[in-house]
Symmetry: C2
Subunit: 120 residues, 2 copies
Amino acid sequence: MTSEDSGEAGSGPVGARAGSHATLWALSDPVRVEIMDRIAAGTETTVTELAGVLPMTRQAVTRHVRTLEEAGLLVGERAGRQHRYRVALAPLGEAGAFLDERAASWDRALRRLAAHLDQQ
Amino acid sequence: MTSEDSGEAGSGPVGARAGSHATLWALSDPVRVEIMDRIAAGTETTVTELAGVLPMTRQAVTRHVRTLEEAGLLVGERAGRQHRYRVALAPLGEAGAFLDERAASWDRALRRLAAHLDQQ
DNA sequence: ATAACACGCAACAAAAAGGTTGCAAAAGAG
DNA sequence: CTCTTTTGCAACCTTTTTGTTGCGTGTTAT
């Protein structure tokens, strides 16, 4: 039935973003952040439960969950006929490090330009 | 603090995202990150200069720059017929704080669930 | 004044994202 | 076995992104 996907690390899927970009993009949608909130809280941890409290159908929730899963922010585990999800925090650290790195780089560049102008 | 709907009314165009979401979304595109890199470095600081080194037309660059400007990551200043941009680091701090806050919240929720399971 | 440059706006097309409905398959309950 | 629940997949539609071309406006140089 299901093919051997569920491995987003190799030759990625079609619309796949890489690394921290995927994480930033996944979390730039308030709906997906709310899904992460609810799964982390443990109140709604399946697609059907989430669709019960969110203003959209189950299939729409499935897509958001899949996006989060491809970003590595969610990990699913099948328990019988249910498909339960839990959050993974590792990509959060990567994305945060990415932002910090960029901020530091741009800050350095700005100071370098300012010093250059000051020298003239 | 957690309420962020009904954001900026007058300054935000039609499809504007609010606060940190706009920042995360703007930086989830490698092209826009590269634009930020080049403007911060001072090598290309106008739309025309950027279009000269990027594989797209000037109008496409204009759209990306506008996206970054709406997120507060770029500030433009007109000098004669040229429109020069410089980077602004403030939204970076907000976005980083948002990620940290979410990571801490989800981590707390996970520990609470783990403790709850441990108690049973 | 005229030509060249930098920029903005509008119309348009293709692709991706977000959402819906419908239907089929696997797991549990009666 | 039959029925219900949970899930996945496929087709389809709408909106948003992303990119193009064409044209008009303002600014600088000759």
